[in-house]
């Protein structure tokens, strides 16, 4: 069901003024919570998401434990007030699916063999939602994992590309997600380029898919630089404050 809005004009300008390859405004801060072992807050466009990591800690109940490695349990949850029509608190099917794909993505980069029988709990709370929450949540989770001192092969990062008005663009905003032609969120391990999360809905030709894939990966690399800045910023700030 499409609307009459022109999502992208002939000059490639989008509704919010962005060009086809521009990211929305992103702000990342590490170590924002006191009780959590590691935490991160992210603002990505209109998204406001808070992530807390607890662990590694013993997995309970015992039958959930893996005797050889840690299990990774990501829990993606949307606050009731985070969306236009209030959402009933508690996991719905969409949240359960997103939790699963994020857990699987993170499992690949966490050195789980170092913690048999343990669990790494990643809590992703969406406080204000505007398209692309799973990518923003996973990106913040990467920073929170570093903050918690969880050993990692790489810092996972995610970004989406899509198709609007027949054109492949980076980082869909709200209307673009609702009325566009395709949405392709991707998470990668930026060091190796390996894909950790991949979902797609809509309609893309093979050529368009390749374009969107490359664009999303490019977006991921840009966001990866921002994650690293946020992480090092926290420690530089401590030094600067004292000198």
């Amino acid at each position: 069901m499409k609307s009459d809005i022109e999502l992208i004009n002939s000059e490639g300008k989008r509704l919010d003024g962005r060009g086809p390859e521009d990211l929305r405004k992103i702000k990342i801060e590490a170590g924002v919570l006191h009780r959590a072992d590691g935490s991160c807050s992210i603002e990505w466009g209109g998204n406001k998401i808070l992530v807390a990591v607890y662990g590694p800690r013993e997995a309970v109940p015992r039958h959930c434990q893996n005797p050889l490695r840690a299990i990774v349990q990501a829990r993606y949850n949307m606050a009731a007030f985070s969306v236009e029509d209030r959402k009933r608190p508690g996991p719905d099917r969409r949240s359960v699916e997103i939790s699963k794909v994020i857990s699987e993505a993170l499992e690949k980069v966490i050195l789980t063999e170092q913690f048999p029988r343990a669990t790494v709990d990643v809590n992703i709370e969406v406080l204000d939602a505007e398209a692309g929450t799973r990518c923003a949540g996973l990106t913040a989770a990467g920073v929170a994992l570093v903050d918690a001192g969880i050993p990692l092969r790489d810092i996972p990062v995610a970004c989406a590309a899509g198709k609007i008005g027949g054109r492949v663009v980076l980082d869909l905003g709200k209307e673009e997600d609702n009325f566009g032609d395709a949405d392709l969120p991707i998470a990668i391990s930026p060091r190796t380029g390996e894909v950790l999360l991949l979902q797609m809905d809509g309609h893309l030709t093979l050529d368009e898919f390749n374009q969107a894939y490359d664009l999303a990966v490019k977006g991921c690399q840009q966001v990866s630089e921002m994650q690293k800045k946020a992480i090092t910023h926290k420690y530089q700030a401590i030094v600067a404050e004292v000198e």
Binding site: A118, V146, D154, I238, V242
Partner: protein
């Protein structure tokens, strides 16, 4: 990024090559390259590359002195929280008392605090601790706080110099567990001043000239008390 003369590295940062170096603690190898797995200080000793973590939970090592809190008493052992990813097991054979079967609660109960030593860590990370040593015992009185395990070396200082400074000026008895748990006993002002000093060390752990600043703070607090 460099502080205190040491370089800070982050996960996935490339640190070296297996052709010339070996992978030490806090690092992993992929296709002949050595990478950091944590955010921490780069530490190269000879041809070994280590990363000393700045954050993260306590990683139990046999021989470590730890301060534990008893979680549960069972018939032949106790489960003890030592601030690690896993609880530690203290077996009745590893305490200096003769315990009749089922009498474990008479000696150590839920909430009791002990200064213990890590005995063993097996491949599945099952931890065992012991109290069988003249230096180990059940702790009474005083106050207990948790700090980040990674800050313990800074709180102890080179050859114990930092903790000795704190003990001197506050006149407190202090035990610093490798697991980031610290026990302090003394008069109320002394404990307060010791806590202040420890908090300052935690926040400023990465900076230069910390020892001097702590000494200044302790001197000032000691004067205020008199």
């Amino acid at each position: 990024m460099s502080t205190d003369g040491r370089q800070i590295v982050i996960p996935s940062q490339e640190l070296g090559d297996t052709k010339t170096h070996k992978s030490g603690r806090g690092t992993f190898v992929e296709r002949g390259k050595i990478y950091s797995e944590r955010i921490g200080f780069l530490n190269i000793q000879g041809d070994m590359i280590h990363v000393v973590p700045i954050t993260g939970r306590y990683d139990p090592t046999p021989g470590d002195f730890v301060i534990g809190i008893v979680e549960e008493a069972s018939t032949s052992n106790w489960m003890v929280d030592i601030n690690a990813p896993y609880p530690a097991l203290l077996h009745v054979n590893e305490v200096p008392w003769e315990i009749d079967f089922g009498d474990t609660e008479k000696y150590l109960n839920k909430g009791d605090t002990i200064l213990a030593k890590v005995l063993q860590v097996d491949e599945s990370k099952k931890l065992q601790i012991t109290l069988n040593d003249r230096n180990l015992f059940k702790i009474k009185g005083g106050h207990i706080i948790d700090v980040e395990a990674s800050k313990v070396p800074r709180i102890i200082g080179k050859k114990g110099s930092m903790i000795a400074l704190i003990k001197k000026y506050t006149r407190c008895r202090i035990f610093v567990g490798q697991n980031g748990r610290i026990w302090i006993d003394g008069d109320p002002e002394g404990i307060e001043n010791a806590l202040q000093a420890i908090n300052k060390i935690q926040t400023e752990a990465l900076s230069f000239g910390l020892t001097n600043r702590i000494e200044e703070l302790l001197k000032k607090d000691a004067k205020d008390v008199r």
